[in-house]
């Protein structure tokens, strides 16, 4: 009866090894995605190197679902640049164009006013109550690159979470059941 026990033992160890390999490869995928994201953060100097356009306020240049690549260099902000900024009390950052810049003589601080290309008026209504200008610390980055449509994936996944869980489930199942 010794040979049965041996073979059972070998199958069990094989399965455990297989399972371990799957877990490790899944971990590799997750960590490499994290490495790429954090690496991009270092290179671009922006806390979120890629943003998805959520509104039509910059149409026809940027439509909902397009993605923008951000860069945050030491260069001062100038009129005409498209910047991503956050406003106190608002969770979602805004992508609009700079139309006015005032740079202080003594401190070098900047006052910035933005406007969406497709909006009628400037953004003072979007800013926090009583806020007239954006300062450097509101700016998350300036848009340097553009890719259309790709952002729809994240828009659909945030608006219909069930699709997200289905997708994650299906991918997880594929990883676990796949054999070499």
């Amino acid at each position: 009866m010794g040979w049965i026990g041996e073979s059972v033992e070998s199958i069990r160890s094989l399965q455990i090894r297989h399972l371990l390999t799957q877990i490790v490869s899944l971990g590799m995928i997750v960590t490499s995605a994290l490495i790429i994201w954090k690496g991009l953060m270092c290179i671009t100097g922006s806390e979120s190197p890629v943003v998805v356009v959520l509104s039509g306020s910059m149409e026809p240049g940027f439509k909902r679902g397009d993605i923008l690549f951000l860069h945050m260099s030491k260069d001062p902000i100038r009129a005409g640049e498209i910047v991503v900024f956050h406003v106190d009390g608002r969770e979602i950052p805004i992508v609009h164009r700079v139309i006015k810049v005032h740079e202080r003589q003594d401190t070098g601080e900047v006052d910035i006013l933005t406007k969406g290309d497709n909006n009628f008026g400037d953004d003072r209504l979007l800013y926090a109550h009583g806020q007239l200008w954006l300062q450097q610390h509101h700016i998350m980055g300036r848009a340097v690159g553009f890719l259309p449509y790709v952002g729809w994936v994240t828009i659909i996944m945030t608006e219909k979470p069930i699709i997200k869980y289905l997708l994650i489930g299906a991918l997880g199942l594929l990883v676990i059941t796949s054999k070499e």
């Binding site: 009129a79 005409g80 640049e81 006015k100 740079e103 003589q105 006052d111 690159g145 890719l147």
Partner: protein, 167 residues
């Protein structure tokens, strides 16, 4: 080994890589386009020069603008955003940049034109420093691509002096 899912995976991956390479190539080819922009803009008339209730100087202008932007357009250009900015220095601010007028050029056929316009946005100073001030006008353009890198440049077009008194 060669199951349906594997074939599908390979096909989709290949298609995605190909699409990404095409996008990159389209954007890279823009680098070989060296545009020469011809443009001129000048102030015809200062319609109004006054002090706002808040104490800031405000100027309204009439402008004559002409430009030929056709060389900016490549097959990867979605549109060109242009604006005319006033730039000046005051004792308080080392740089004041104020967009006076902007326009979206949708395609090459509309890229050569001449127009007389009033300013879309008033020139408002931070304070009251505009008497007799020399203001430089610069035309900025922002080439927005179908995909890839965005290109920005500017040229100085003219300058004018504001009057010494309010109108």
């Amino acid at each position: 080994m060669h199951s349906f899912v594997y074939r599908l995976n390979t096909l989709v991956t290949f298609a995605a890589v190909l699409l990404a390479m095409l996008c990159a190539a389209a954007s890279l080819l823009d680098a070989f386009n060296s545009p020469t922009v011809h443009a001129h803009a000048e102030v015809i008339k200062i319609n109004r020069f006054r002090k706002q209730l808040s104490g800031n100087d405000e100027v309204s202008l009439a402008l004559n603008i002409s430009m030929d932007l056709r060389s900016l357009f490549t097959w990867n250009t979605k549109q060109v955003f242009i604006f005319l900015a006033a730039e000046y220095e005051t004792s308080k601010n080392s740089l004041n940049q104020i967009s006076l007028w902007d326009h979206i050029v949708p395609d090459k056929d509309h890229a050569k034109f001449q127009a007389q316009v009033a300013n879309k946005y008033p020139l408002i100073d931070q304070g009251s420093n505009l008497h007799g001030k020399k203001v430089e006008l610069a035309l900025h353009w922002h080439v927005m691509p179908r995909t890839g890198r965005m290109i920005q440049d500017k040229m100085a077009v003219s300058s004018f002096y504001l009057p010494g008194t309010y109108t």
